[in-house]
């Protein structure tokens, strides 16, 4: 009798675990999504809109991944500066975070496109003349680097001081201890906010349309100004953004589970 109860209990627990881990609510979303997609794809107006807008996905994804990669690197450097005991390094990291975080992302992108980009071109006598796409990617990367710096810092500070002491007492240098002991733990802990920022960045890539980059939103707006079909145009843009963020969300989930410490 007791055994049976035990099994029953465990089964229920497993089911609950299963339901927590598998994004079953995705079925509902997928259901609605498929209904919308089918009704869209059987509608000539939507097919036209999709055809016009789809090429923008490639640019949006390219901007997202490259800018995030840059932000991960800049954020890591700035985050480590922010926990440095050297006052000059700390001030450098803080300056970057405070200034960049204090500017709207749109302003940063316009700066990168129309102020910094041309300045670099003129300073190097046209040797380094970044195309607008690269300028926008750099702008977004720098902008998000400031947020990620704070994410990294929070992660590093959450690792118990004894870890650094243990690593140092084994003869590792500060940077070796960071690399092999502190950061692997810190980064695992901040995977959820890192994923958050990844998804936020994907959405913010829509801002690069202001410097005339043919991303998803820009393609949508071009379609609309050509055909005056705002309803179908923006619906298509929204559906495509949602599809990408859902996929990214699943990727983040996967990475989190993969890296969990037993």
């Amino acid at each position: 009798m007791i055994d049976e109860e035990q099994t029953d209990f465990e089964e229920r627990r497993t089911l609950s675990d299963f339901l927590r881990e598998v994004p079953w609510w995705g079925v509902i979303v997928a259901g609605v999504g498929i209904y919308v997609l089918i009704s869209m794809l059987t509608n000539v107006l939507y097919i036209e809109a999709f055809k016009a807008i789809l090429p923008g996905i490639r640019i949006t994804l390219e901007v997202t991944f490259l800018a995030y990669l840059l932000a991960l690197i800049l954020g890591l450097i700035a985050g480590m500066l922010r926990v440095s005991r050297n006052p000059v390094l700390y001030a450098l990291g803080t300056l970057y975070v405070e200034v960049i975080r204090g500017l709207p992302m749109l302003v940063i992108i316009l700066y990168a496109g129309f102020v910094i980009g041309p300045a670099i071109r003129d300073a190097t006598h046209k040797v380094v003349d970044l195309p607008m796409l690269s300028r926008a990617i750099v702008g977004l990367g720098i902008g998000y680097g400031a947020y990620l710096a704070e994410v990294y810092r929070a992660g590093i500070e959450s690792v118990h001081g004894g870890q650094m002491e243990a690593a140092r007492s084994l003869g590792m240098s500060y940077l070796e201890a960071m690399r092999f002991v502190i950061l692997p733990q810190a980064i695992r802990r901040v995977l959820p906010p890192l994923g958050n920022n990844f998804i936020a960045l994907l959405k913010d890539t829509s801002l690069v349309s202001v410097v005339a980059i043919p991303d998803l939103l820009q393609m949508g707006r071009l379609f609309i100004s050509r055909t005056f079909r705002a309803f179908e145009g923006y619906n298509s843009v929204a559906v495509l953004y949602l599809l990408m963020t859902f996929l990214l969300s699943a990727l983040v989930r996967y990475v989190e589970r993969r890296w969990r410490i037993p």
């Binding site: 004894g162 243990a166 690593a167 007492s169 084994l170 003869g171 070796e176 092999f180 733990q185």
Partner: protein, 245 residues
């Protein structure tokens, strides 16, 4: 046996207005086991942490194995590779398996190749009595097992000196013995050890001298039997009466 491997002269360590260590001179001989006891806040842990520079002394000199650790421009990592440290809270690396915990510093600091480092690690796990735990994570071990891994991790660097900072204080009573047994083995092999701990049994079995500290100074030092049964200072008597019940 004649030359001291650690020479501490007039060591002071201040944290703001707190004088944690307030003028300590102490020699530790090669192969000796020295116990440091004293009430909490007496500076015994700070003294220990000054030996491998986890705390930077305010004034005074410490010479370890011929190296003046308080000299300007001294390479701390060189010192720390020679001095193993075991912490009260184990401080194992939770994201690495037991084997990887022991491997890491060998690879990074000693630059040993993978095979050599692994064979040393497995030998050490054998020595501390848990060879079967090589591939589990620290969180899956008991406190006593974790502390034994921590000892193996420190030993993998082949240190000349081992420092123990209250190694059994965070352990459940039934796990203390397994850690002390490993430490006793080490002592018998002739390892130089400085142990901050109140384990009288271990002191009697392994230590040649016990130092009693209070308020940042050494109050008295003697052989364990003498100090525990017949201390000469009032403060020592008072302290012992509290911990011996």
């Amino acid at each position: 046996m004649s030359e001291p491997i650690i020479q501490i002269r007039n060591l002071r360590k201040y944290f703001g207005h707190v004088h944690a260590v307030n003028g300590v001179s102490l020699d530790v001989m090669f192969g000796e086991v020295l116990m440091v006891i004293g009430p909490s806040g007496s500076g015994k842990s700070t003294l220990l942490r000054c030996i491998n520079e986890l705390e930077k002394p305010t004034t005074g000199t410490i010479i370890v194995d011929g190296m003046d650790t308080t000299a300007k421009g001294f390479d701390v990592n060189q010192l720390r590779a020679e001095v193993g440290m075991v912490f009260q809270s184990f401080n194992l690396f939770p994201h690495l398996t037991v084997l990887q915990n022991i491997l890491l510093a060998q690879r990074v600091v000693r630059k040993r190749d993978e095979k050599e480092a692994e064979s040393i690690s497995r030998d050490l796990l054998e020595k501390v009595g848990i060879p079967e735990k090589a591939d589990v994570y620290p969180s899956q071990l008991s406190g006593g097992q974790q502390q034994r891994v921590a000892i193996a991790r420190a030993l993998a660097m082949q240190p000349k000196i081992m420092l123990f900072d209250e190694p059994t204080s965070a352990l459940d009573p039934e796990m203390i013995k397994e850690v002390l047994d490993v430490m006793l083995d080490l002592a018998r092999e002739g390892m130089t050890m400085v142990v901050v701990s109140h384990e009288m049994g271990f002191a009697r079995a392994a230590a040649r001298r016990v130092v009693f500290m209070d308020n940042g100074v050494i109050v008295e030092e003697a052989a364990p039997d003498v100090l525990f049964t017949n201390p000469s200072h009032e403060r020592t008597k008072l302290f012992l009466s509290k911990i011996l019940h």
